[in-house]
């Protein structure tokens, strides 16, 4: 039994009276300790897929099993417990703006009912683990993008999850910061054995960190396998486009500075 099993997952949305298929018949198994990439263009359904793994989005059809437990069978309370065992980080970090780094990391512990003193001790260690032990009193507005994501990672790890979901976690960061964050994720994967699921539209992210990858196109899983193999011989059009596009984008960056938008002088 794989740690995460997605079986025949379909998600339909109703938009202005019309039913749209965001995902259709997705089958996916993610093994314990993997760093698994899910890649696709924007609108492909990746975000919906990752939100199905912790049931932030309930599938219209199909099943999600975590360690063999069907999430559909859980009561709301059990589901909340399950969610606390699955960490999640986001593109725009989603830190609590009115709380400092320390209190942000304490947040999930507070929710789990841990005593304040104990929570703070743990948070301090986590902030050190992610390399910003000196920033515990800083508010998000005083941190750079990379530092914010480090706080978010520390927060996601606070409840000692077995799975970490990353929803475009590096998309708002410049290439240098992306690299250091990916390095951190890899270290975490090795140190704690956490299964990491990475949603991205950047092939470079997948190539840097993932062992396995699934390619989503138009709500359908079009290709799946070892990263190396897919890089060597992509079969689907989407895979070819994503790998080819990466090169194109790489050159573009040199010629059109506006493509480098958001890559402001960031030091991590």
């Amino acid at each position: 039994m794989s740690e995460i099993e997605i079986r025949n997952l379909t998600k339909k949305f109703e938009v202005k009276g019309q039913v749209v298929d965001a995902l259709r018949g997705i089958d996916l198994s993610i093994e314990k300790g993997d760093i698994f990439g899910i890649i696709g263009m924007s609108g492909a359904g990746k975000s919906t897929l990752v939100r199905s793994i912790n049931y932030l989005e309930k599938p219209t059809e199909g099943k999600v099993l975590i360690d063999g437990v069907d999430l559909e069978s859980l009561t709301e309370k059990q589901l909340r417990k399950k969610r606390s065992e699955i960490g999640m980080i986001f593109q725009s970090f989603h830190l609590l703006e009115q709380k400092n780094a320390m209190d942000n990391v304490c947040f999930p512990l507070e929710i789990a009912g841990m005593k304040k003193k104990q929570a703070r001790e743990k948070a301090r260690k986590l902030l050190e683990t992610v390399g910003i032990g000196d920033k515990e009193k800083s508010y998000p507005s005083q941190l750079s993008g990379g530092q914010k994501q480090r706080v978010a990672i520390a927060r996601a790890l606070a409840t000692e999850p077995k799975i970490l979901l990353c929803d475009e976690a590096t998309s708002a960061l410049d290439p240098q910061t992306t690299k250091s964050i990916l390095g951190l994720l890899k270290k975490i994967n090795e140190k704690y054995g956490i299964t990491i699921v990475i949603i991205t539209h950047q092939m470079s992210v997948v190539s840097q960190i993932c062992k396995k990858v699934a390619i989503i196109d138009g709500g359908v899983l079009v290709e799946e396998g070892d990263v190396e193999e897919i890089f060597r011989s992509p079969k689907s059009d989407a895979a070819k486009e994503l790998i080819f596009e990466k090169k194109v984008r790489y050159i573009k960056n040199f010629e059109q500075p506006e493509d480098a938008e958001g890559q402001v002088k960031e030091v991590v």
Partner: protein, 220 residues
């Protein structure tokens, strides 16, 4: 320029005005804050969407806010008598002020909560937070600046309304302004009372803005 009697009266007026304003703001929030949270939670795409509850709350809110305050004050006289035992005086005025303020406060609270980033709420859900935890540990914390600014505006409005209620036996500076300034043509007293109201308003607004700024960690 005024004799001791008038000064005494003005001092009592200030006391009554502050008493009415702050107590009605306080009890207005006791009712309005949960009301506003309920509206936020039950709205479409809310944490627990509920058409019926939101519909009823929304309707009550709009109805009370549509009724002119003076009419509300008179209509509520029997209710006021039931709650505080009499229908005139500063304490009695607080009752209609609270009823008038609560739906307004509910709206102020609702809109302040609406400003909280949906992503942050999603984050809290992904960490396994319950609705109550989201309300108390995320929404009220993240929206506190808006909430405080809203409370300052509300208190300012209640100051004005408390002056209005003075005309029907509520006491306070508004009462003095009308009785002496309007009915007895004592312009000097009227000017002084209005000036006092302006000063009180300024103090409320300034202190409120300053605290709101201090509470905010978003921009530094």
């Amino acid at each position: 320029m005024f004799d001791e009697k008038v000064l005494q009266m003005l001092l009592e007026g200030i006391r009554d005005t502050l008493y009415m304003t702050f107590f009605s703001a306080f009890f207005g929030y006791v009712l309005g804050l949960p009301f506003g949270i309920a509206l936020y939670v039950t709205k479409k795409d809310g944490l627990r969407p509920n058409k019926v509850i939101y519909g009823i709350g929304d309707f009550i809110c709009n109805i009370i806010r549509s009724v002119p305050f003076l009419i509300l004050l008179i209509v509520l006289i029997p209710f006021t008598r039931l709650v505080v035992g009499k229908s005139y005086g500063s304490t009695a005025t607080i009752v209609p002020l609270v009823i008038c303020a609560a739906p307004y406060i509910a709206r102020v609270v609702e809109s302040a909560l609406n400003e909280v980033d949906a992503g942050v709420i999603e984050m809290a859900k992904s960490m396994g937070a319950s609705i109550w935890q989201i309300i108390f540990k995320v929404l009220l914390v993240e929206a506190r600046v808006s909430l405080f600014t809203g409370a300052t505006i509300t208190t300012g409005i209640l100051l004005g309304y408390s002056a209005m209620s003075g005309t029907v036996g509520g006491g306070g500076l508004g009462d003095i302004a009308v009785r002496y300034g309007y009915y007895r043509w004592q312009t000097d007293i009227m000017v002084v009372t209005v000036a006092l109201l302006i000063i009180i308003f300024q103090i409320i607004q300034n202190v409120g803005s300053r605290i709101a700024l201090r509470l905010d960690h978003r921009k530094r």
